[in-house]
């Protein structure tokens, strides 16, 4: 079981209270009439499926019922940060790679998953070698 930090309730809550809602930061074309079918199709149907850092929208459905964003590692399930709608992530695939190369643990101080730190540091060491 995960504990997930809700940026609106300002505390960690049981995973059961949340629901994932797909990729975050999708921008609807401002003028749908003038975009190509391909661009519109991309916007409507095509989503990233990265191995590693991913930004997702989640909803605290049984708590405050607000949507917010999560930066998550899809290989370790580790939640690196959560942040409100309208804000940008501080951890991206690029920053995570740089920090790994410099031997810096990705989510220093920002552990969202109770009890996950020792396990995940081992996993991170394995992936970087």
């Amino acid at each position: 079981m995960f504990y997930i930090f809700c940026p609106y309730c300002d505390e960690r809550r049981e995973e059961e209270e949340f629901h994932p809602s797909g990729q975050a930061h999708l921008v609807r074309p401002t003028d749908p009439e003038s975009v190509s079918d391909e661009a519109w199709g991309d916007y409507l149907f095509f989503r990233d499926n990265p191995r590693g850092i991913h930004h997702e929208m989640w909803v605290h459905r049984l708590g405050c019922r607000k949507f917010f964003n999560i930066t998550r590692d899809t290989t370790t399930y580790e939640i690196l940060e959560t942040y409100p709608m309208g804000e940008q992530p501080t951890i991206t695939a690029e920053t995570a790679r740089v920090r790994r190369e410099q031997g810096v643990q990705t989510a220093d101080g920002g552990w969202q998953t109770v009890g996950a730190q020792p396990e995940n540091s081992t996993l991170n060491e394995e992936t970087s070698s």
């Binding site: 609106y8 309730c9 300002d10 505390e11 809550r13 049981e14 059961e16 209270e17 049984l62 708590g63 405050c64 019922r65 607000k66």
Partner: protein, 225 residues
């Protein structure tokens, strides 16, 4: 049912008193369970947990900016809007409360019959401000849990940490209760409150009875308003 009024808020909003007239009997969300013999009249039953419904209270959902609403609620109700997430402010005698639900949403609970007048006064006070008030009194009900084993009962039912360090007095959270959702409130030292939805009320009653069987739990509710 009273006539709809269109005066408030520049005539843009239809408001009406949702309390039926005296000749029509009101049925609380626990009515179905009462009909099936699961809910007793209030009898001060002795047990390690006591569950009592407070039916027919006035429940209002306020939405809008915190500063605007705070000013109006303090002026019209004499209670300030909880400044922090998960805050619950209760008045001196415990019969009126304002609760944080989300960053732009609060739940006001007042004694039954006061909500229509309060809604009108708030609308008048707020004028042209950007806000919404919805009377949800018919859709949910308040249930009080007290007794030595109330916390133990909740520990079997909710995922939330109900110890005093997790849920101190003056805190209220929306959380999972036996696979459904409730609002769990800690208004005072003596007990807890659950705000349960009408459509899940019978399920919640049956859950409470089952989980509380070992404590001799009974669910009580006043038989009429």
């Amino acid at each position: 049912m009273s006539e709809a009024h269109f005066e408030a808020n520049g005539g843009n909003v239809a408001v009406f008193d949702t309390h039926p007239s005296e000749v029509i009997a009101a049925e609380s969300p626990l009515h179905w369970s009462r009909e099936r013999g699961l809910v007793d009249d209030v009898a001060g039953h002795d047990g390690d947990v006591k569950v009592v419904e407070r039916p027919f209270l006035g429940h209002l959902i306020l939405r809008g900016g915190a500063i605007t609403l705070d000013e109006a609620v303090r002026a019209e109700l004499g209670i300030s809007l909880p400044g922090k997430p998960l805050g619950l402010n209760v008045d001196a005698d415990g019969s009126r409360s304002v609760q944080w639900l989300s960053p732009d949403e609060w739940l006001v609970i007042v004694p039954g019959g006061e909500e229509f007048e309060l809604e009108n006064r708030l609308r008048e006070h707020l004028g042209d401000a950007h806000f919404a008030i919805v009377n949800v009194s018919g859709g949910q009900t308040l249930v009080e849990l007290s007794g030595d084993k109330a916390r133990e009962l909740l520990m079997k039912s909710v995922t939330y940490d109900v110890h005093s360090h997790g849920l101190p007095v003056g805190k209220a959270v929306g959380t999972v209760f036996a696979k459904t959702s409730v609002v769990l409130r800690r208004p005072n030292e003596t007990g807890f409150e659950l705000v349960i939805r009408r459509s899940f009320a019978d399920y919640c009653v049956r859950w409470l009875l089952d989980a509380g069987r070992e404590y001799g739990l009974r669910v009580e509710s006043p038989s009429s308003r």
